[in-house]
Homo-oligomer: 363 residues x 2
DNA sequence: CGCACAAGCGCACACGTGTGCATTGGAATC
DNA sequence: GATTCCAATGCACACGTGTGCGCTTGTGCG
């Protein structure tokens, strides 16, 4: 429609193309993408030979291969991966299910993941599921692209959805999610150990009024961390050596932590040691405490975060936190996908990555 | 190879499928994706009718459409967009050229852009060009996916590359880049006005030793901001009322700014008012000044940033800065792409988005 | 010189969809 | 009741690539 001259003119030219002798016909430039047929004609071979040359088939002589490759280069040939996928019924796209880029740790993880995906010869196709109601639809829609695999970094996919991916041999990896999805690999950092480490360092600091701050309603990871924390302080709690208060904020970000600080701190018997479900919350809490309420950190209030995002190490915060490694998370994710895409049959696994206490200046 | 039972079994079943009478044959589940042919057979119509139903062709009766849609739903049919693209020679993918996710402003912009792309019915296909040498190859590789458009948010594409996209009617938008690409739309924030605003507020603050800090070698945006800054202070500079020092750091991020602070500040005659090419640098500079050198901000050192990233507004920084709107940038980008993809012929344009001074506490 | 064998190459089909055009069925008009 | 017309639907081709199978060409040996 937008191209009056394109295809018709060209096929016409093709079927009528008698003038094989004489000067080589000037390449028809008009709107037409160079296909393997063009390369074949130009190099004087069959189209199938072009395909085999470019895919490194061993049955092709080196001379022919060189000639074809050179011709392809000269014509600016770009293989049509859509057509290839049509044939092979698989693309080299990997679906990335996320929800926005406002969570700093997730961004760091995606940064590594995108690099790793590309490094492995695939391409990331991002879908945003900020609206949880659209999760199922969005994930299924990814199947429309014949994706090679899918990584879920946000949201809780409906468990039954896994079958659709299993049936099509599309591997699924859930990262830092609950492992409810049938047939999916699940990779988590060690939330349990993280909660314990946080408990240990806060108990050792001598604080007595402990708290755990996380988003209202919680998330899988956050809840796991909080439960481990509570379990770890259970003896001291039972003996009355310390008290514990669960705290919640309205959003899992800086502002959520900041508002929670204004709300819960500065009162009589307010907690003097708070473990936050994630660093971003901790930073907001810390700023509210220091700048709005005049509390000294860590003297009046000790804070432990989780994730070790870049900002946590900045001089303005120096947050003590539990570090998980986005690089290792990404490497493991893509490694797992590659195995399954290559056809290896491995059983679903629940992988746990170690975490590490990073001592800075907030405890 | 990984599917012994799949295709062969199914086509066999198809060619032999006599049993049209009697009970409806149980759907063959094995490894086989549901195609429009399956829906057609199940609904008792032709495949072309299925296609027309799902694409909203008006020539289809409502009764037929409802039946087909219901059947498709029941079978879990997902259209194969690869096959559709094969036919239409266009996909609904939009290439996003970026380099990592470590630049906070770019992340904010991408966040809005990805949402806008999805909202407009497209899908973002991300490529990372952290290695500038691979820029041309990577951009051309995007053509293999028959993308509908491309947005460049990082790097400097070789000018000649534009022709490849033009020839295939693939619109290109450059965001906050030099406008060197033939046939591309270019969208920039108003770097000139930004530089001027920074100059005005710093001059008005009474500081006398001005500086501009940016990454060594500079970037298109950074240089434009710096030049506008210098031009705006030219009169005072000429009259000797103020001095000016260009400063550079090794990386365009927090650490670059931090290291630059250690290097340039705290000395005799060090600048007492610095305009930074971007907020992220400014935050590092600010922390070095406050926490390492004991300078008071803004008393000993005034700082103006650029971008107004989220962190700049946090209580620990309260950075005075020049704000550009990632949301408007994204909206404009996708709007421009949509027009061109829809076939509208509009002339290349160089769009400038307004910036705004955000007064906080560092001047 | 004739034959066997192997390597290199081309033919033709398949992948799943959109769409121009022919065909069918029914309704309306004379 | 016959004819015309329109709406609804089916047929068949095209999109660009991968690949099994058969054909051609060249080489070595008897």
């Amino acid at each position: 429609m937008s191209c009056q001259c394109g295809h018709d003119g060209w096929t016409g030219e093709k079927t009528v193309s008698k003038p094989k002798n004489g000067t080589v016909a000037a390449p028809v430039l008009r709107h037409h993408t160079v296909t393997s047929a063009d390369v074949a004609r130009e190099a004087g071979v069959a189209r199938s030979t072009v395909s085999r040359c470019l895919s490194g088939d061993s049955r092709i002589s080196e001379a022919t291969r060189d000639r074809v490759v050179a011709t392809a280069e000269r014509l600016g040939y770009q293989i049509n991966k859509i057509a290839r996928s049509m044939n092979t019924r698989k693309s080299d796209l990997i679906g990335l299910v996320t929800s926005g880029l406002s969570d700093p740790f997730r961004v760091e993880f995606l940064d590594h993941l995108i690099a790793a995906i590309q490094q492995a010869g695939f391409r990331p196709l991002v879908i945003d599921v900020s609206d949880p109601a659209l999760m199922e639809t969005s994930m299924l829609n990814l199947l429309q692209y014949q994706i090679a695999g899918i990584v879920v970094t946000s949201g809780s996919p409906p468990p039954a959805i896994g079958q659709h991916f299993l049936r099509r041999d599309v591997p699924v990896v859930l990262v830092n999610r609950a492992g409810l999805l049938e047939g999916a690999d699940v990779i988590n950092c060690d939330n349990i150990a993280g909660g314990q480490l946080a408990a240990e360092i806060l108990l050792a600091s001598g604080k007595r009024r402990l708290g755990f701050l996380n988003m209202r309603g919680g998330t899988y990871s956050g809840n796991a961390r909080g439960e481990a924390f509570v379990a770890a302080i259970a003896p001291e709690l039972a003996s009355g050596a310390v008290s514990f208060t669960p705290l919640s904020c309205n959003s899992a970000d800086y502002d959520g932590g900041f508002q929670a600080g204004l709300k819960f701190l500065g009162k009589e018997n307010a907690p003097d040691a708070i473990f936050c479900g994630k660093d971003h919350i901790a930073l907001g809490l810390m700023d509210a405490a220091r700048f709005e309420l005049g509390l000294k950190v860590p003297d009046d209030l000790a804070i432990v975060g989780f994730d070790d995002i870049v900002a946590a190490g900045q001089r303005a915060y120096r947050l003590t936190t539990i570090a998980q490694s986005p690089a290792r998370l990404a490497a493991l994710t893509i490694g797992r996908l590659k195995q399954r895409i290559a056809g290896e049959v491995i059983r679903d696994e629940r992988l746990i990555l170690p975490v590490e206490l990073v001592r800075r200046e907030t405890v």
